[in-house]
Amino acid sequence: MASISGTNVGAHGHDHAHHDEPYLTPKSSLWATIIDWATTIDHKKIGVMYLVAVLFMFFLGGVAALAVRVELLEPTRTVTTTVNGETTVQITGSVMHSVGMATDMASAGDWYNKIFTLHGLIMVFLVIVPSIPASLGNFLMPLMLGAKDVAFPKLNLASWYIYLFGSFFAIASAVVGGVDTGWTFYTPYSTITDAGHWKVVFMILAAFILGFSSILTGLNFIVTVHKLRAPGMGWFDMPLFVWGMYGTSLIQVLATPVIGITLLLLIFERLFHIGIFDPRMGGDPVLFQHFFWFYSHPVVYVMILPGMAIMSELIAVFCRKKVFGYRAVAFSSLAIAAIAFVVWGHHLFTSQGEVAAAVFSALTFLVALPSAVKVFNWVATLYKGSIDLKTPMWYALGFLFLFSIGGLTGLFLGALSVDLHLHDTYFVVAHFHYVMMGGTIIAFIGGIHMWWPKMFGKMYNEFWGQTGFWLVFIGFNLTFFPQFIMGVHGMPRRYASYVDEFLIYHQLSTVGSWVLLLGFLVHFFNFVHSLAAGPKAPPNPWGALTLEWTDAASPPITHNFHHEPVVTHGPYDYDDVVPAQTKPGEFPLPPKAEGRTVHVVKAGH
């Protein structure tokens, strides 16, 4: 990290000069810098460390996903097999047959199962759940609220190390041979597979530990929102990003402990065989599914709510308009968080009783309403805006496109009779990838682009940013849309091989995954280039109104603000704050921070 000081916010005389330096300023030596980062309680540094870790994990999970797709290029098992004790990778089926692929179908199948399990575990527990809250949320929330840090900075650092520790366990269990339970750990398979080995326990422990990281982050954010808003910032003066984070944190705090006890019971079950999930002892495997989805359904909203939170910012800033129906959007975050807790049964339509299935189906449809509110409001925000089609805005539009498909296809799965047909098929796979990846990851990348100048003080290359977007967008649709069709045709999930009629869809999907890879690579090199040689970023390149843009430098100083910001307008009051546009082609920016910030005597002193 080079020293970057792009601030043009006036430097005031201050006792503690180092607090006025950009947070990225390195220490005197490399070693000191490393120690500084490893022991920092600065939310910005922790956010950046999370960002790097999450992107690395995304890379690992992506490699697993590509391996899964290559395996499915052909109907038979193609990608990995053990021949004469050595693991070899085979790309074409004909080669496979000639070298005697049937010599070890079992290990080929196990390899596939381990890889898709790894993909699911990494992407869910290590990437999507922590992605936006832990990285962008950590970085931005205190800035947006006008605070110096999150409420419990040491806890924040602790949750980062817990995350590292949990990741270590997860990766370790993969390295020592991998687990083949699927990320859902369904019993009794997960309690009897790989008997006598600790790998599965390691992986469960990893998820257990990661849960604590998630809980602590959520707890921290809730307290931050309650206690550290800048003077003058009421609940409805908060940016919608913060609202989204708040809803996310509520779910994290209320749902994650349940996965904790679930995984604990699963470990007991595996090690001591207490019997709760074991039908061989009168327990009930479906009870595990209830336990599991009681957390894991709300957690899909932990995944998507931050994506929606980013969306609200992107759309408002790049349309330079107040989000249409601000309160409706804010309350829909809470409504989603609330309904999230009573719909988990729709993952069990084929395994639970009829009465419960009917109740859960009805409740499931309720969650469609707040989601619909959000999407309609975002589209309505575009109306008569001043739409700046930069890379983040393209990602916002891409989000609307993909999330609409993902959300609407949820209607099929909520309907009981149709779900009996589609349950556990590729239709479900496509549906949740459209929501999780087309929603959360797309918003995440859009958000990274938007806040990149703020985080690192450098601009990225707009051309390559948009090129990357189009590759990702096209690759994504090519990968996942065919999966809808083959799902309806009856292709079940988690199949290492398949019958011939699904061939064409699988091949399209695999080719799409390569396009997707190309898109991500373009983004990656764009970011690296920006860090190394990108132009310096102004404090407020997009002309946004939230505090991190108006009152903080790019990158922000260690203490975020020179003076405690006082909020005098809403986060999206472009109409009131930005000078009216008088001449075509002139796009006025909001007033500079110094013109507005008021120094106040702190209350209580």
Binding site: R229, L254, V355, G604
Partner: protein, 293 residues
Amino acid sequence: MAHAASHSAAHAAHAAHGDHGHDHGHIVIPQRTLLVVFGILLLGTLATVAAAQIEVWFAATFDVVIPQWVNVAVALSIAAVKSTVVALYFMQLRYDNPFNSLVVVFTLFTLAFFLGFTMLDLGSRKALYDYKGSYVTAGGQGNISVPARPGAPAGAEYETIPAGTSIAQFARITAARQAEQTLANGGTLPAQLAVFCAQEIQRLQADGKPLPPYLVKFEQVREQYAAILAKKMGHGHADSAHAEQGASANHARVRTGLTLPEFSQHSSHSKDSGHSKDAGPAATPAGDNPAAK
């Protein structure tokens, strides 16, 4: 001017923050209040124990069947009251920021949803067909390896439970094995094995089945275990005031109307039985099945 205006606006806004209160949670609760609360908790504890005892006494004396939910409801209500007192005074929720109480309330809601909806499913599986909520083999299926029990063949680390046998049944199999060995070697049975042998004899005699040799042998030496058996199986036993260990005819447990479920109709691949509850406009008696012809 703008400076001053926003200054005061900021102050007003700051003061208006509902949850920036400064007085919450600094209440010093008098020692006396703490003592009273502690007293209430003690009383509650005694009440919940007493309620259970009274119920036993009541049911035995007046020979009535008290549904089991009564006991549960009474015990949990008292527990709920005690917890509320702890939360309000010891944990100071009563004097605290109301948002903290809100957190607790939401947590309890979450718990209620969790328990309620899960029970909704597992309790309503039999809504259409009885067998959906029943188990094929009582106590679970066998065909699993368990750590070797006492009396297992020498050197065995694991034993395999025969198919269709539950862990509980296997415990009796191993107990019989152990009792047989002990009696054959002329040893003295541990208390629970003596009780087991006595119960086994009762069970077999009730079914009119002959006794295996080790039980015959036990009959011969039964006298030396008389004290144990009287304690564990008779009326006045030391283990607990209302507990008893087995099939004695006159035990003092509250009768709840519960009976062990019958598994026989589900244990086979049911060709005709187990379907008698099939809904349908023209439900036919079991066995009237076109496929069976």
